[in-house]
Symmetry: C2
Subunit: 440 residues, 2 copies
């Protein structure tokens, strides 16, 4: 039964996601109206260039280069331009006019989220962003609503498809980092400038959004400890698999006690990590994403699916558009973001994790004892230590041996100090690899 006036939807941006959203608003019009109880009228699509090629055809009369005029009178504004400006200004204008806003703009949310949520709250408008993390995967709504009565303790997410593709390719095809990146670029999984992905910036923005939501605490992107995958070598990936692990770039958000103050805080970090092969996250291949959530009552949960792609991300955007539209039809404001817990955001040094450290050492008596002594001095307990591979004869490094040390869980600060001490030890030729492993 459709007895409500049509709701006016403006789309800003017609890239791979925007073009799909516009297309589906037009082609699924009747079905969406039936689900909502009101029609969705696409009043226009703001673009920079009217003549640019698009993934799907948008009727010429719907295109405009004047985004500011377009959003006037819109009930729902869908921002899919990306970048900080003019997206931020346009969203603030839309919210100020009372429109609900749907965005997939993780960079903007991770940078100016509080300003945007505050602007929405002031006028009772809503800001939806299911598509900002995990592409098509429902994760924002489950964290905000389904787990609202539980206590999230930790999130481990594969939230960047490009880096997962590259690491998976190294693992499955034996390609080097450079080769795997070239493959990702050729197949369209990596952009011409891959820095945002391989440098971990994209994942850090998503970690900031997830941590803020899960722990009811404002976690800005710059507070997320960030390491990319550029230093990961094929040797590390091969050695990891031999040891029963796969290397994944993880976004880890956790509630933990500050080892210095003893008080609870939030830590968000993005770095390559060793995931045991039997863990569900190890089975996330290609450019897929998965978010593993540990909650006090629910226990472990995992959400899996396509983390990117125009039509996939459009699914999440349209889900938010329908939510916004239903709110118009049934009345009443929705849910405001909650930062009531307001916990301190901790530095990486507060993390408790394990290290797998590979060393080249002099192949002589007493070295093992010296190395073990260094770990002991720093309060780091050794779980495994093995002489993995001797340097090949004729390599010019006869007389060297390779040690691979797996530690028990320890505070990051102690682990980092241990690695520094090992690096400067006279018996250690080189620290060749340091990878964190989470308790999984």
């Amino acid at each position: 039964m459709i007895d409500y006036r049509p709701l006016r939807v403006a789309v800003l941006g017609a890239g791979s996601v925007g073009a799909q959203v516009a297309d589906q608003l037009l082609t699924h019009r009747d079905e969406l109206a039936a689900r909502i109880g009101a029609g969705l009228e696409l009043i226009g699509v703001a673009v920079r260039d009217l003549d640019a090629p698009r993934d799907t055809a948008i009727p010429r009369e719907l295109l405009t280069t004047d985004a500011e005029t377009l959003i006037v009178g819109a009930d729902i504004v869908v921002e899919l331009m990306g970048g900080l400006e003019p997206a931020r200004t346009l969203i603030l204008q839309a919210l100020a006019s009372g429109a609900d806003v749907v965005t997939a703009n993780k960079a903007l949310l991770a940078t100016h989220g509080p300003e945007l949520f505050e602007a929405a709250a002031q006028v009772g408008a809503q800001l939806y962003y299911e598509a900002a993390v995990g592409g098509a995967i429902p994760i924002i709504r489950p964290l905000r609503d389904s787990l609202a009565g539980d206590r999230v303790q930790r999130i481990l997410g594969i939230v960047n498809g490009t880096t997962n593709f590259i690491l998976d390719r190294m693992d499955s095809h034996g390609e080097s980092m450079e080769e795997a990146l070239a493959t990702a670029t050729a197949l369209g999984y990596a952009e011409a400038d891959p820095t945002a992905d391989v440098g971990g910036y994209d994942a850090a923005q998503k970690a900031a959004i997830l941590a803020s939501l899960a722990f009811h605490t404002l976690v800005p992107a710059e507070a997320v400890h960030r390491e990319g995958i550029t230093d990961i070598t094929l040797e590390q990936v091969v050695a990891a698999r031999k040891a029963g692990y796969v290397v994944k770039l993880l976004a880890i958000c956790e509630l933990l006690d500050d080892p210095v103050t003893g008080k609870p805080g939030v830590l968000a970090r993005v770095h390559p990590a060793l995931v045991p092969l039997a863990h569900p996250l190890a089975a996330v291949h290609g450019a897929n994403n998965a978010i593993f959530v540990e909650a006090e009552a629910a226990g472990p949960l995992m959400f899996y699916g396509a983390g990117a792609g125009g039509i996939q991300t459009a699914s999440a955007v349209l889900g938010d558009v329908v939510s916004a539209a239903r709110r118009h039809v049934v009345g009443g404001p929705g849910v405001a973001e909650s930062t009531h817990a307001d916990l301190p955001v901790l530095p990486i040094s507060a993390a408790t994790t394990r290290y797998q450290i590979s060393l080249t050492v002099a192949d002589e008596p007493g070295v093992l004892a010296t190395v073990a002594g260094i770990l002991q001095q720093h309060g780091v307990s050794v779980e495994t230590i093995q002489q993995a591979v001797s340097a090949p004869v004729g390599s010019g490094s006869v007389g060297e041996a390779t040690l691979v040390i797996g530690t028990h869980e320890a505070v990051e600060a102690d682990l980092a100090a241990t690695v520094a001490a090992l690096s400067s030890s006279s018996v250690v030729t080189a620290v060749t690899s340091v990878l964190r492993g989470e308790g999984l």
Copy 2:
């Protein structure tokens, strides 16, 4: 900021889930209030026996045997008694009084869902049921809200932990059905009367709920085709693994064209099925649940976690309680169930699937041609056919051979007719196993 009056919550039932919900309402009181913007006041817990042992201690003064009086004046009624009556009557009374209702009662929803949703809609109250399917796993909200702008095409769910435990145990430990059921009972995964689980009744109720929600069509539990796992043998499980599959009890809900009328319809079915080992559903072990959803735009998604357990299910119940409470604080009705699509519900004969058929046949020339001819007559195309194992010498059945036939996808009605024809063929001694395989 808490400036709203406390919301009065009544819990009906103090079994494993109810006791945990009551406990968390009491112990997480401040945290829940901060998230909601209003306190939650547990006004009482209705039980049959005041002195029965409970999983968690509930203050004596909160217990009552008078559920009808308890729900008078409650803002939110949490029904965790299970069974059809008095749960149905009490929920109708609660809704009539304007209270929102949270329930985990899949049997009731699958049987009287339309009556309950209608009663809620009449007074603008809400009926929440995230815990009815998949225990702690958020699946109702993702289907109802996150995928509201997409078109779900198929759901394949492992939605019964008991049967997954049993089948997994047969696969991993080589136990027979009887042994695995005994293990499940000993470990508390199976009830004294396991019929609801092993007979597929529990899964069929969940399939009805999922299909109704995903396809906007009323699908009653009795319209779900249901086969349990009681006839599955260890031989079948072992043979499946050899062939690259694992046997799972799947709840399959799909949109498909009726092969008779050519018109779209909904089919919901529960039966053992062969899942390829590389598929994410094959990696769901023990009593865990997972729901694999295929949507037109989003592509494949999977939701994984604990499908049962008191505290796990309490997480989903409390998420619903918080949603209901937020609705009070922020005002306005929520979302009504939508059955706008109102598609026909199709019989199992409309399914398109594959069969793996094992036969004992006379070991003589021409048998293969006869068997192949029977399949061809019924329009069923053979993908693989192999003489798997000859009957052992001395078994009294020398002169027999075993054939395992894998078919291409075909309409269920044709496959069933093929099996019937094979059974009555003079060259076939026995049809020893028939298992469906889905296109995964």
